[in-house]
Structure formats: C-alpha cells, structure tokens
Symmetry: C2
Subunit: 189 residues, 2 copies
Amino acid sequence: MNFCSQCGSAEIALRIPDGDTLPRFVCGQCATIHYQNPKIVVGCLPEWGDQVLLCKRAIEPRYGLWTLPAGFLENGETLIAGAARETLEEANARVDVGELYTIISLPHINQVYMMFRARLADLDFGPGSESLEVSLFDESVIPWETLAFRTITRTLRNFFLDRKLGNEATHVSALVRRAPVPPDLRGAA
Amino acid sequence: MNFCSQCGSAEIALRIPDGDTLPRFVCGQCATIHYQNPKIVVGCLPEWGDQVLLCKRAIEPRYGLWTLPAGFLENGETLIAGAARETLEEANARVDVGELYTIISLPHINQVYMMFRARLADLDFGPGSESLEVSLFDESVIPWETLAFRTITRTLRNFFLDRKLGNEATHVSALVRRAPVPPDLRGAA
C-alpha cells in the first residue's frame, strides 16, 4: 500500500492505531485505517463412486500440478455457493455439495482453506480455463508426488483414511510454514 | 475506493477484467486489480459447567446488547488462535478451544462467522475494553431478546438443543438477508 485509497495521500504509515494492538496502514491525511485480513479459499472434494475428481492447473502458482477445484470466496457469496462455483469454473462439473470436511489455516500466507465433500451429479465434466485436464482417480493412482498444495494433500489423505475407518469428522488444522517447492516440480507439466 | 493504493491514480473503474467474471476495482493507470473478499469473524462459545459466558457490547454496532466473544481474524493468525485472542480481549478469559461448532455465511455483509466451542480455564474473567459486562448464564436466563447478532442467537440455540439431544455436530448455514433492528433495541443499554 503506497497511497490511501480513500483520499489519495501518499502519507501512509504502518502504525498501531489508538486502542488497537496491531500495526495497520493508517493515512496521515484523512486518518482512514486500512485493515487487511485473511482470505477464504473454498472448494470441493468431488466423488464419483470410489473415485475423486482432480484438476491439472493451467495457471501459476503450481502450473501443471494436480489440485481439487478451489478458489477465493467472493463477496456476496455463501461458502457452499463458492465451492460449487469453483467446481463449475475449474472442472465444468456440477456437484451436490455435502459436509464441510477440512478447514486449514495458513497464517504465513493469510489464507484459510475450507474444503467440502461433494457428489458429482454426472460425468459431463472437463477442463475450465484454469485447468489443463480434469480426471477421476482411484486411490491407488492419486498423483501424490505432483499435487499442487499441501492443503490438497492433507484433504485427500484425511479422506482416504476416514473412508477406510468409517469416520465422519470435520478436520480443523493449520499449516504454519511455507514448504519449499522441489526444483523439478516448479512449472512441471 | 477512490484512488489506486498502488500508484495513487484517481482513474479507478469498477469493471470486469479480461478472463474474469465479476466486476472489480481496476486502476486505469497501472492496471492493478483491487480484489475484495469476505472477512472471517472468529469466536468462542465458552462453557463453565452448565453455564455459558456472554459479553455486553461496549461498542457499536449493537452497543449494550449481549454477544459471544468474537471478532475479525487477523493476518498471520490461525482460526483457533484468533478465537482464543478475541475471548481474551473481550472477556479477559482464558479458554481451551474445542471443536469448530457453527460456520455461518453472511453474504449480504461479506462475512463468514466461525464459532468454536471452548472451556473456560478458570473464573478469572471480566470486561475487556470492548465490553461493558461479562457474565455466566444458565440456559433459563439467556437474554434472548437482547442478543446482538442473529449469528449468536443461532449458535446458542444450536448449542442448547444439541446438548439436550446429545448431538455432536458442526453446523454450516447461511443468513442471507439483513434483519431489521427494532427501534427499542437500537443502542439499548
């Protein structure tokens, strides 16, 4: 933040406002406090029988790696509507959104992942503009080594384990550090 | 948004960027897209035996009405850390944060409430700077008519019903319209 979005002044300082406990961007001209808060990434784990649907990313970060359909929740949108919209956009797939399944805080990048279980309505799916490929996978062929994000790995590992054990649970957790990306996976295709 | 926070230009237009589907604030000078997304309100339902802890608000909105300790999740914070921090700030209370309990989308105000169950560590609590009063309540004396927010009413109703039925569940829901505040509750003390 270089300029105040309210009055246009360049007198922006990072300081703790009166009565607050954390530093914020404060305008020295009009006194507006510019709060910044974490964003929600919402998505689905779409199932078809024993298989799950994954998307190969056509965009950075993690171009060419596999993910579950997910993206930023939009203003004016409920969590369930956002999860369904991301699945439609990335996989052209219609789903019945089920239980909220994993909630993962990523404080180092100011995000909270919220992944829902979902049932594919039919097999009429295919890559949206942000995907190179969309496919169904049995557990035995999940591309564990080329998944895009640790949140996705954790969600899928929880899922297959819970399925084996007959567990029905919501998983709240956190990933508190940035994982290094191995050079051979950067921009993998 | 009147000015670009990146370059200071006043050439800000609300338009749909190429490849996007929703209108965003876009700078006509430096082309920065200023995304705006929902915020997370995180908090606790603190229990002590059969009683629950409520705070009487010392700030607007809903000054003088009762609420559960909750507030905006901060950058760099996990959900559980945020829930504990808000409880400490508003009620000077230390809690063991338990299960995630209610998740309520409020699309008309771009918020998602995430309330955790929690156990008070001790009875050493009292009003923080944003509370007039902090107190424990049995179910029979919950001030239903002077609760501050529908998210709080819903969370407490779920809680007392689940307790009666022996249910253990996470509740995902939405409140999609603004509720009118009765004139006699505006600024009630």
